[in-house]
């Protein structure tokens, strides 16, 4: 009854979708963590007003579904004059989403840095920016690296929803294929496995990067 060979003619469609998903993931993982780092720093060290703004952003995103955020950005914003392509809307939505979650995670790392590290940097004459960049960030990220990895993977998996605004990602490919060959089960199983492979690949790449950046932990 199962027939996976019917999928073979559509290899290109799957690969195209896979590539789109990977591109989006790489780009928005980078952007999202940047946003998260910035917002976490503001939330941890900023003044009251800016801390409030960041908190509102984080809570708003964390307490609404990604698909609604996406629809609001893709359908809602153009109606008040911000025209966006599906690709642009996707990048904005994914970045904002990962940004909010990673803010919480990274902030936990920042608050974990002992006061003594700040004092040591201060008595050596380093200013706030220098201390943050050179002394605080690396150990802070090391503490929360596993959580950050998981969150990036969750956002990658969430990107399946982008097919709903006709971004031609992996899920879009699966829908396309099953509408042509009527092999829904096979098509979705294969796609699900590709996502699973992508998730594992991400975990692997993250751990490779982690091993390099946090090499000081490995040498013990």
């Amino acid at each position: 009854m199962l027939n996976f060979s019917d999928l073979l003619p559509y290899t290109d469609v799957f690969l195209g979708g896979l590539l789109t998903t990977i591109e989006l993931t790489v780009l928005t993982t980078f952007l999202g963590v940047m946003v998260g780092t910035l917002c976490a720093s503001i939330r941890q060290y900023g003044n009251k007003a800016s801390r409030r703004v960041v908190t509102a952003y984080v809570e708003l995103i964390r307490n609404t579904p990604f698909i609604v955020q996406l629809f609001f950005i893709f359908f809602g914003l153009p109606s008040i004059g911000f025209l966006l392509t599906p690709w642009q809307a996707s990048i904005i939505a994914l970045t904002i989403n990962l940004g909010a979650y990673s803010t919480e995670i990274i902030r936990a790392g920042l608050s974990n840095i002992p006061k003594g590290q700040w004092e040591a940097a201060k008595v050596l004459g380093m200013n706030f920016r220098q201390t943050l960049m050179r002394v605080v960030f690396t150990p802070a990220f090391e503490k929360i690296y596993p959580a950050l990895t998981s969150q990036c993977i969750i956002v990658m998996l969430g990107s399946a929803v982008l097919s709903q605004i006709s971004v031609q990602d992996l899920t879009y490919a699966a829908n396309l294929v099953q509408s042509r060959n009527f092999r829904a089960f096979e098509s979705y199983v294969v796609t699900a496995l590709m996502y699973l492979g992508l998730a594992m690949l991400m975990r692997y790449v993250f751990s490779l990067i982690g091993k390099r950046v946090f090499a000081y932990r490995e040498v013990r």
């Binding site: 579904p65 698909i67 899920t171 089960f185």
Partner: protein, 216 residues
């Protein structure tokens, strides 16, 4: 074409919200029941069973919830098992919820010192007694906050049921958008309703976490 006032939009959305709430509850109850069974299986320390739970978690945490829904809905019906959108949504949300809850609870059980197991063993309790009287009461206290926290993910996850045509809050939103051509307004209302559902849960979870930490 019918004219929709703001109240009409909100009224229709709130009506659909019932289904979001119902779906969330059903998914959470089913999901935590399955998670409970899986946790028990994991605690038997039987290598085959532990392996099974591991693969289960990997599988349902490592694939998109949307894909799981498609598989349950389109996939199963193609295979000859007729299933409604409601059934497919509950089934996939149950798999998703249980996979995450097992992992969360595992963390809670593992934070208990090994000495608790050993002390119980020394006192002559068997595995189930240890679990029932020593481990679970402590683990449940620790697990409460993150479990409530995860319920927010379940509520948000139900939004994906809209994609397979189940009319809950998000689907109602897209339908109203098609009728009113006011996406900005409609999706803000939709977002606000979700926020009203989720934020109290988030706050409650934070409150529990603080309370637990103080108690410790």
């Amino acid at each position: 074409m019918i004219d929709f006032s703001n109240w009409d939009i909100v009224r229709n959305l709130l009506f659909a919200t019932q289904w979001t709430v119902l779906l969330s509850l059903a998914a959470f109850v089913c999901g935590s029941s399955v998670a409970l069974c899986l946790s028990a299986i994991r605690l038997t320390r039987n290598p085959v069973m532990v392996r099974f739970v591991k693969v289960y978690i990997e599988l349902f945490q490592g694939t998109p919830l949307l894909m799981q829904m498609f598989l349950c809905f389109f996939g199963l019906s193609m295979m000859g098992y007729e299933i409604s959108a409601w059934g497919a949504a509950i089934l996939s949300l149950t798999l998703f919820t249980s996979a995450f809850l097992v992992e969360i609870w595992r963390g809670c059980i593992d934070t208990l010192p090994k000495g608790q197991w050993e002390a119980s063993r020394v006192l002559g309790m068997n595995f189930l007694q240890t679990l029932r009287f020593i481990i679970l009461p402590q683990a449940m206290r620790v697990a409460f906050a993150p479990t409530v926290g995860f319920s927010v993910q379940v509520v948000k996850g139900t939004a994906l049921a809209s994609v397979i045509g189940f009319v809950e809050l998000t689907k109602a939103g897209t339908m109203l958008n098609n009728a009113t051509f006011e996406p900005f307004k409609v999706f803000i209302f939709v977002a606000l309703i979700y926020f009203a559902l989720c934020y109290p849960l988030s706050l409650f979870s934070q409150f529990l976490e603080k309370k637990y930490h103080v108690a410790r």
